[in-house]
């Protein structure tokens, strides 16, 4: 049986009315009206997982702070911080198996780092010394993607290819609320549903696309409601509740792995910092809104619950903070080292083999560099 012949694919054939009916019942596809939450609900918690999540959140917050500081020191060209969104970033990384693929947007350095990617490699793009700083195949992390939503069809294609090959690999693709307006979002979700590709789409709805608030981006009940239009389930989750995001993503990844097809997950969260270090958020939002979200901080939420339940103590909290400090110090040091760049690399990988034309241009640059060096 080929993928194209699997149920859900080509079998359906519409009949003339009045017998005609929608292909499937939409009800199971609709998200619950309340975002799924774990913290504060009394649900059972897996201690090891919670501590792991907590440690990663703390590390992630510190990573964001350090990276932003590095922009001020000129060590990074730009940094789009995920402060406030660490629960999504970390849960995305932890919900995947090693053989799975992550398709991050430009804001998701942290997800890549939480997946185990070397921070310097992860920051290469934003540092400005090369575009993608790592081998995507080695880490199964696609390049951090700047053109919005364009990596979503890549995730679908990769997941589809894996399935055709018989590999039980899942792709998880990240996109922002703004990115859902792009045509590529639509086309990716549609292909995924038609092909029943093992892919999970996580929309981090952080309330803004640079300065544009969600209300000017969409009139939908929620972004998760878009799922029904593709025939895939939509799920809503509190994006600042790390165990909740982890659980929803794990379920979706598991379903995809078992051949159940794609899922659209909307995580409701908030971008606490400006869009990037170059942005001035005071131009488009007031501090009252930011303050309200600060009350719903992902670290604070998890730490509070773990403490209340006695799953972590002061020592544990201190240990996490210290580990984060160590990471930050190492990162500072590594990023302070002047990167060694070879301008001749400009011509190295434009094509498999260098054309005569590029060789001429490389010779020109080489001559210029030699003249300069003299």
């Amino acid at each position: 049986m080929t993928v194209q012949e699997l149920p859900g694919a080509a079998a359906y054939r519409p009949t003339p009315p009045p017998a005609w009916r929608p292909r499937t019942d939409p009800t199971p596809l609709l998200p619950d009206p309340e975002p799924f939450r774990v913290l504060g609900t009394g649900a059972e918690l897996d201690r090891a997982l919670m501590l792991k999540l907590y440690a990663e959140l703390v590390r992630g917050r510190r990573f964001n702070a350090q990276a932003t500081a590095l922009t001020k020191q000129g060590r990074l060209a730009v940094y789009p911080s995920s402060t406030g969104q660490e629960a999504c970033e970390v849960a995305a990384a932890l919900a995947l198996e090693e053989r799975d693929w992550l398709f991050p947007s430009y804001r998701d350095t942290l997800a890549a780092v939480a997946r185990g990617l070397d921070p310097v490699q992860a920051l290469t793009l934003l540092r400005g010394d090369w575009h993608t700083g790592y081998d995507p195949r080695e880490h199964r992390i696609a390049p951090l993607c700047t053109p919005l939503a364009t990596q979503l069809p890549h995730a679908v294609g990769l997941a589809h290819a894996a399935r055709l090959k018989g590999d039980d690999v899942v792709a998880l693709a990240l996109v922002g609320d703004g990115g859902t307006s792009e045509g590529d979002f639509h086309e990716a979700l549609n292909f995924a549903a038609v092909w029943q590709a093992p892919v999970v789409f996580l929309v981090q709805n952080n309330g803004f696309a640079i300065s544009v608030p969600l209300a000017k981006q969409t009139a939908a009940p929620s972004l998760a409601h878009k799922a029904v239009g593709y025939g895939m389930p939509g799920r809503l989750v509190d994006g600042n509740d790390a165990p909740a995001v982890h659980q929803v993503l794990s379920e979706a990844v598991g379903r995809a792995r078992r051949g159940g097809g794609p899922t659209l997950v909307e995580a409701v969260t908030y971008r606490m910092e400006a869009h990037t270090n170059a942005d001035d958020a005071t131009r488009y939002r007031g501090s009252a809104e930011v303050d309200a979200w600060r009350e719903h901080d992902p670290i604070r939420l998890l730490e509070g619950e773990l403490t209340a339940r006695g799953l972590i103590d002061e020592d544990g909290i201190r240990a996490a903070a210290e580990a984060a400090e160590t990471m930050a110090a190492a990162l500072r040091e590594q990023m302070n080292a002047e990167p060694t760049l070879n301008p001749m690399d400009l011509f190295a990988e434009v094509y498999t083999a260098q054309s005569g034309q590029l060789r001429e241009q490389a010779d020109q640059l080489r001559a210029e560099l030699e003249a300069e060096a003299r």
């Binding site: 194209q4 081998d135 995507p136 364009t150 890549h154 294609g157 292909f191 498999t352 005569g356």
Partner: protein
């Protein structure tokens, strides 16, 4: 090896089909995808029979969304497949422009060679088939101006097979431009015994001559061959160079010819202004300036949106327009 008598007339469309078929048979990672490429075999029947022979997973009818097609092809290539994408018509490749420019063309470079993009984007292009608007664009200038892409276009049945095989085997992304009005052109050619495949990047002298060189490609090659025949009456012995590959560009073959003849005309269907002819004329002039008896001239489509069917004959560069340009090559300054 079979003998020449086995050869039967085959069309360019059939040769292209055969190239995909043979590539798919040899290499299980080759996948064809696009609109109507499966059951229907494509609106030009170029993928005819592939879904039947290799199954719908290897030759797939996609949803109707070109960015989605090329975007998923990128993901498939990331996982080690070699997608061959069909765009139904030239103008319908435009929705995939961002994927092509920002990802397909750049992926190898931005990952320092870690991630190749062995994708072929097949684009039926050009006019002369009476198509209504948006069905006859010559879009090669866009692709040529994009570093990271190779751009290839056959003018003969043999080259259609050979170049497409090479394009599919190539680890770089190739925009493979298929001249629509040559789809039904025929040649005595045996799919069982195709000519040896030539690597991408080589132009070919289709007709040797000494008075001037016609530099051309794709749908304009037969026009130039005809013009060269007609020119004999005027006493001109024209050389015709079929570029075949616009990127990489074969400066060697082109410049050798122009240096020999001292005169050149670039002929293409695409609009002249900002079209391929500018690049070609400029690089030939840079390299052969002191061999030139006259400026390199250009015969191209007018700088207008592609005309409706009933007027396209006035737009397309034909034999007369080529001969007019040849006549303007300042023969009075003959050495």
């Amino acid at each position: 090896m079979s003998t020449a008598t086995d050869k039967k007339p085959a069309t360019m469309a059939q040769a292209l089909q055969r190239a995909m078929r043979d590539a798919m048979a040899e290499d299980p990672t080759v996948h064809v995808l696009g609109e109507d490429v499966g059951t229907l075999g494509g609106v030009f029947r170029v993928t005819d029979g592939l879904a039947k022979e290799f199954g719908e997973d290897r030759c797939t009818d996609t949803p109707l969304a070109e960015a989605g097609i090329l975007g998923t092809a990128v993901g498939m290539a990331m996982y080690g497949l070699r997608p061959v994408v069909e765009m139904q018509f030239d103008a319908f490749a435009y929705p995939a422009f961002e994927q092509l420019i920002s990802h397909v063309a750049k992926m190898r470079n931005r990952t320092r060679g870690a991630m190749a993009m062995p994708i072929v984007v097949r684009v039926p292009y050009g006019g002369g088939i009476g198509g209504v608007e948006h069905h006859s664009d010559s879009s090669e200038a866009y692709y040529m101006a994009t570093p990271g892409l190779k751009v290839v276009t056959p003018a003969t049945v043999e080259d259609a097979y050979g170049l497409l095989r090479e394009a599919i085997a190539c680890d770089d992304p190739v925009v493979f431009l298929e001249p629509k009005r040559l789809y039904w052109s025929k040649s005595d050619w045996s799919p069982e015994d195709p000519a040896p495949v030539e690597p991408i990047g080589k132009a070919v002298v289709r007709r040797a001559g000494s008075s001037a060189t016609l530099l051309t490609y794709g749908p304009s090659v037969p026009v130039c061959m005809e013009a060269a025949e007609a020119a004999r009456e005027e006493g001109w012995d024209l050389e015709v160079v079929d570029l075949r590959s616009l990127v990489p560009f074969d400066d060697e073959t082109v410049c050798a010819s122009v240096r020999r003849t001292g005169r050149a005309v670039v002929v293409h269907e695409s609009a002249g202004f900002g079209g391929p002819g500018g690049e070609i004329a400029a690089r030939v002039t840079e390299r052969c300036f002191h061999h030139l008896e006259a400026p390199v001239l250009r015969v191209a489509g007018f700088d207008i949106p592609y005309p409706p069917p009933m007027l396209e004959k006035h737009h397309l560069p034909g034999v007369d327009r080529v001969l007019d340009a040849v006549a303007r090559l300042q023969w009075e300054t003959e050495r």
